[in-house]
Structures are given as structure tokens and as C-alpha cells.
């Protein structure tokens, strides 16, 4: 467990700016969700925006790490789209 925590700490320290952006975006997503929770349409829109941001973030992160590969981008796209589809199922 300690090894895992150390790995996470070193990973975040190595890419502090990237993970900070991701954490802030996640926080913003939750705050915006709380604000527009009364409207299913806006909740879906915010989730869509967050998923698109995540796909862009993944591409940017791997570009900075100089290990950008189609496999990586596809992975972020698939996960983003899974979240979008489930947000259609639940929210809209």
C-alpha cells in the first residue's frame, strides 16, 4: 500500500500541473452539477463537456510526456464516450 501511495505521489509530482488541472476540472464539474441539478438537459451538457475535456486532457498529457500513441488517445476517447452514454441513460 505504501508503495502504491509513493507511486501516486511521484506520479503527481512529476506531472503536477496536469493533475492539478484535472482535479480542478473535476471539482468544477461537481460544482456546476450542483448548480444545474434541477435541469436534466444542463446536467447532461456539463457531463458531455467534462468528458470532452478529459479526452483533450489525456491527449495533452501524453503529448507532454512524449508518449502520445493512438492506443492512448483511443483509450481516453472510449472511456469518455462510455461516460457520455451512461449520462444519456441516467440524466437524459
Amino acid at each position: 500500500m505504501q508503495l502504491l501511495l509513493n507511486h501516486i505521489k511521484s506520479e503527481v509530482r512529476l506531472h503536477l500541473f496536469d493533475y492539478l488541472v484535472l482535479i480542478i476540472a473535476s471539482g468544477l464539474f461537481l460544482v456546476l452539477l450542483q448548480i444545474v441539478v434541477y435541469s436534466r438537459f444542463y446536467v447532461f451538457l456539463i457531463t458531455l463537456g467534462y468528458s470532452i475535456f478529459y479526452i483533450i486532457w489525456g491527449t495533452y498529457h501524453h503529448t507532454r510526456k512524449c508518449d502520445l500513441h493512438l492506443k492512448n488517445v483511443l483509450e481516453y476517447i472510449i472511456i469518455g464516450f462510455i461516460v457520455i452514454l451512461f449520462s444519456v441513460i441516467i440524466f437524459y
Binding site: L3, L4, N6, H7, I8, E11, V12, Y19, L22, I23, S26, F29, L30, L33, Q34, V37, Y38, S39, R40, V43, T47, Y50, Y54, W57, G58, H61, D67, H69, K71, N72, L74, E75, Y76, I78, I79, F81, I82, V83, L85, F86, S87, V88, I89, I90, F91
Partner: protein, 303 residues
Amino acid sequence: MAIKDRIAHFFVPKESNNYRAKSISLDFLGVYLLIAFCLTFVVKNGSVQFNHVLGLATDISIQKLIQLTNNQRQKYNLSSLNYNDKLSQAAQKKAEDMFAKNYWAHYGPNGIAPWNFIMDSGYQYEYAGENLAKNFLFSQGVVDAWMDSPTHRANVLRKEYSDVGFAVVNGVLNGEETTLVVQMFGKPMANSSLLPIKTAQAANPVLHQIPQTNLKTQSIVNNNVMTPQLSSTQLKVDFSLIFFGLLIVLFGLDLYFASRMHVIRVSGKSLAHLFFLGAFIFGIMLFISHGNIPDYAAFIKPH
């Protein structure tokens, strides 16, 4: 391959799976995407086929609301409330009035009070009260919200009440589709010609046929309130939470084993996926727990 190796192949980064657990490889992620796509299609078409009565998918039922209300009362050794036709008709009229005149309050824009609806339904009250709720997905959330609010809680637990009526109505309020829940309480006036329905009927509440309106109300089939045998909303939420919970476990396992083995590989960041999926699950929990009740409940007592 032995069973243990096969399981490890799916969940642990190894040489055999190119140091990426098979269950989160691109192939399997593609399968999950396909499943999500099929589910979206099935759910949306299913909604059109079977939810023609309830335009919005919610899991709020009158029977459940009665049960939960009486459960709360029993905790405080109060008598159970009897389901009352007239109060339910009053609640239905109140909900329709709110949609028609586009307001969200106990008193209408023309000053109409909840008691006006109760009196119009023919229920002569000694005590009466009203609780409102909107935008909830589940009956439990509605009652929990009422119990968290001092005035609404006071209504639920008022010892003077003996009867209750409910209406759960979908419609458009302030330009938005929503589900309104109206709860009307009452105690009939002494020597009233209108007697409350007997306790035995509370377990199987019966609604007289209410004239059809343009609003989508809970379906009335053979004079019984139709409660969904299988709640689509609950199913959707449960399945989503289980699916994303599993994905989080898989990425968590991947992160753990990859850090132990110091694996260098070309793949997405499991840590980032965990943040993203975790935030989404949190968002689902926020969404399903949220609803709205007015700042205060309404209550009238004899002068």
C-alpha cells in the same frame, strides 16, 4: 492456462497480457462501449414504449410514500395515517393548479390556499396540512427531505392528523419538465358526514378514477394506483453504479500492480481514469439525491 493464470490474465498486468490487464485493454473497453451504446438504445426505446404514462423516469410511488410516511410516524409512536380519496383529489388539483399557473408555493398567485383544494374536494377538516416536493427521483429522497426540514417534519409527525392523500404528477414548471409531489394531511371535523377510509384499506389504497388531464400522472389501472413492478430508474442507477464501481476497481488494481512491478508501458493513466470515473460517480450520487422542497410547510388548525 490454469484457472488462476486465466484470472490473473484478466486482472493483473503480466507478460502474457503485455502488462495491461485484459479486462481494461482496448478490446474490452470497446466491448464496454458497445454495451453502453446498446443499453442507451434499449433504455431510450423502452422509455418510449413503456413510459408513455410517466413522461419522466422517476421511482416515486404513492404506496411507497404512504409506507415511508407511516414508518416515520411509527418511530415516534404515532398512529399511522389512513389514505384518503378526497385528500388525494385535493393534492391532484393542487399539482394541476401549480402546473397550470406556473407557480411553486403553498399559496397560489391569486391567493388560493391548500385548504381551498381540500374543501373543494369535500373533505371537511379540523386540521389540515400540506407538504410539497419536486425534482426527486425516489420516494425515499422525498420523505428524507421532508424529515430534514423542521416544518415539513412537524407536518409528517403531527399527532392531530389521521388522514393523508398524495399526488405525483409530471409536467412542465418554469419551462422545465419536473415531477411534483403533493402531500395533503387532514383530520376530519368531528361529526363530519365524510368518514375517513378504514385503516385496512391503507395497505391497498384505492383511487377513484380521476378525469384525464394533459398532465402525466401516475397511471390508474382498474381503479388501482399502478406502481411499477420493476423500477427502471432504480435499475439504471444501480447498473451504472455497479458498472463504474467495477471499472474503478479494475483501474485501481491495474494501478496497484503496475506500481509494484514498476511497469513501463504505452497506455492511458489509470490514476487519471480513477479521478475521472470517481468524479462521475460522485456526480451521479449528487444527481439522484437532489430534489427541492419549499422553505416551509403549510398547516392550519382550528381557531
